[in-house]
């Protein structure tokens, strides 16, 4: 065995790769369970790819056959119902896990230097995930599939000058039709592999900057422990809890996240009375509807998704640990979460009565949080410093400052010696 390993190691860095990135990968000892959701997202990605490949063995991307082929999978293929419900529930699970992963990053300020690239590759992954989910939702070719795709592709009609041509080009037809279905299937099969590549980049970046931790500072070496067995076990424990919840929905409540109208075959001549997107798009959909202008709504919705990328610039505070040591930022975080939930509620209901102004107020607040964050975070830091930070935080900041100084000193020394 060791002979084989050394034969390989002379040609490929297998042992050192496993050591550096798994068994002995140094991980902060103080990670909480909120740090489980990255690896969970990886597991869900694998579940989606595996179930998706097996579904594609039976699915027919043709507008005359698609709906029936999904029912065929449900009724005739051995365990087809299981594989399909794993896939549809998996989409929901994916967004749930990713949203918690993002919320953790926002709460603990993990997007701060040196992890900006992690945050931005994550933002790219979110966009890819949304695109994949949206295209996958058309494939069952039910009423909600059809009209969701019709509405979302129409959004591109808001692009100035080229809008109408762009919409027709995206659909390959004047309405969502067979051409649209076939290309959505092709792309829905492609994007997961782009996601895998993007995840690889996300992980390379992670293994360069290392995991953040609840204290918000980069820990000294003595405070890191090897990933295996400490975090393989912790991740597996979290995975078991996740799988229990996931199995509940797959086996006992699989239709909770599938609109009843999607069991009616697509009918281009009739729109369902009340059309709603999947739950994970609801807050953004509410923002779209709250702006009384087509182009304005589309722009507001796009910004509402993309604005997270600006967080490393918008948050001006140097105090580590995100919300942990910053009461005002913490209040803003919770208000933002509540606001997103309100937007989700508004997005799920027909736009009537008090829900219209409520949606507009929530939209305004959503953007206000980001717009005022630079000012608030600057003043918050001043106020906290004047009031006096907890001794441990002061020490942590000094410690981080010290590490930075040491690094700078080492660099200067090296330069000197090179000369």
């Amino acid at each position: 065995m060791s002979k084989v390993m050394s034969w390989i190691d002379r040609r490929f860095p297998l042992t050192s790769f496993v050591k550096n990135s798994l068994t002995e990968y140094p991980t902060p000892r103080n990670l909480s369970y909120w740090w489980n959701f990255g690896s969970l997202a990886g597991v869900v990605l694998v579940i989606q790819i595996v179930t998706g490949v097996f579904l594609a063995m039976h699915y027919k991307p043709d507008s005359m056959l698609a709906f029936d082929s999904v029912e065929y999978i449900m009724r005739n293929v051995n365990y087809g119902w299981l594989i399909r419900f794993m896939h549809s529930t998996g989409a929901t699970a994916f967004f749930a896990v990713i949203f918690i992963h993002m919320a953790r990053t926002l709460y603990y300020g993990s997007y701060r230097a040196p992890r900006e690239l992690m945050w931005w590759t994550g933002q790219g992954l979110l966009l890819l995930l949304m695109a994949t989910a949206f295209m996958g939702y058309l494939l069952p070719w039910g009423q909600m599939s059809y009209w969701g795709a019709q509405v979302i592709t129409n959004l591109f009609g808001a692009v100035p000058f080229l809008g109408d041509e762009l919409v027709v080009w995206l659909r390959g037809d004047f309405v969502v039709g067979d051409a649209t279905l076939t290309r959505f299937f092709a792309l829905h099969y492609l994007t997961p592999f782009i996601i895998v590549a993007a995840v690889a980049i996300h992980l390379v970046a992670l293994h360069t900057v290392r995991s953040s931790n609840p204290s918000g500072i980069n820990l000294a070496d003595k405070n890191n422990i090897p990933f295996h067995p400490y975090f393989t076990v912790k991740d597996l424990y979290g995975l078991c809890i996740f799988l229990i919840v996931y199995s509940y929905f797959v086996f006992y409540n699989p239709n909770m996240f599938i609109e009843a109208d999607n069991y009616i075959p697509a009918n281009p001549m009739q729109t369902p009375v009340h059309i709603v997107p999947e739950w994970y798009f609801l807050p953004f959909y509410a923002i779209l509807r709250s702006v009384p202008d087509l182009l304005g709504g589309v722009i507001a919705m796009s910004i509402s998704v993309m604005i997270f990328a600006a967080m490393p610039f918008l948050d001006r505070s140097k105090i580590p640990g995100g919300a942990r040591y910053r009461p005002i930022y913490r209040a803003m975080f919770y208000l933002f979460i509540v606001d997103v939930l309100v937007l989700g509620y508004v997005g799920a209901k027909p736009p009537e009565g008090f829900l219209i102004p409520l949606g507009q107020i929530a939209t305004f607040f959503y953007f206000a949080v980001f717009v005022f964050l630079p000012i608030i975070s600057t003043y918050e830091e001043k106020w906290l410093r004047k009031r006096g930070l907890p001794a441990e935080v002061e020490q942590m900041m000094r410690c981080e400052e010290l590490q930075k100084c040491e690094r700078r000193q080492r660099k200067a020394d090296r330069r000197k010696s090179e000369r």
Partner: protein, 173 residues
């Protein structure tokens, strides 16, 4: 990195826990794999095609009718008196078998029309079949006479319903 205690106090217990956990995980993964493997087997719509009824009316003595059973060709040969007589005994090929064991009614030979060599469909020749792919020759009992095929043509499960109808195959759950 922090000092890690690499020598547990009770190594046997730790080893047992590791083994037990791995075993449970292994069983779980195997169980989760099964639905995926199973989904690649024929679905219930394919299995529902497991039987086919074929009418024997209108097949004159000496003629062959090819029937579709599970997507496979089944040769139904209405044998003449002299053909039946010529087939008596075990034949002179490499897979000797009594003609009477291969038919339910000597007038009718029912065999799967797929060469036992590599799956081509043999063509009808005088006094038997010849596979166009690699030249295996079968007689009027579907027995291999010469060529690379290892066995006689398979006889499917079938039943006579009355005198002029057969049902090929056995219903599966």
């Amino acid at each position: 990195m922090a000092d890690v205690k690499s020598h547990p106090e009770n190594p046997n217990r730790r080893e047992f826990l590791t083994t037990a956990t791995s075993a449970v995980a292994g069983v779980g993964v195997a169980a989760a794999t099964w639905p995926f493997v199973s989904s690649m087997n024929p679905g219930s719509d394919v299995l529902s095609k497991s039987t086919t009824e074929a009418s024997l009316k209108g097949i004159r003595a000496g003629e062959v009718k090819t029937v579709d059973w599970q997507g496979k060709p089944v040769f139904v040969l209405h044998r003449q008196e002299k053909q039946i007589a010529a087939m008596e005994g075990v034949g002179d090929g490499k897979d000797p078998e009594e003609d009477s064991d291969r038919v339910k009614n000597p007038d009718w030979l029912v065999v799967v029309g797929i060469c036992t060599h590599l799956g081509c469909v043999p063509s009808r020749k005088k006094d038997g079949w010849l596979c166009p792919c690699h030249g295996s020759v079968y007689d009027n009992s579907g027995r291999i006479l010469s060529g690379p095929a290892p066995r006689n043509l398979d006889v499917p499960e079938y039943e006579f319903i009355g005198t002029d109808k057969i049902i090929i195959g056995k219903a599966q759950a």
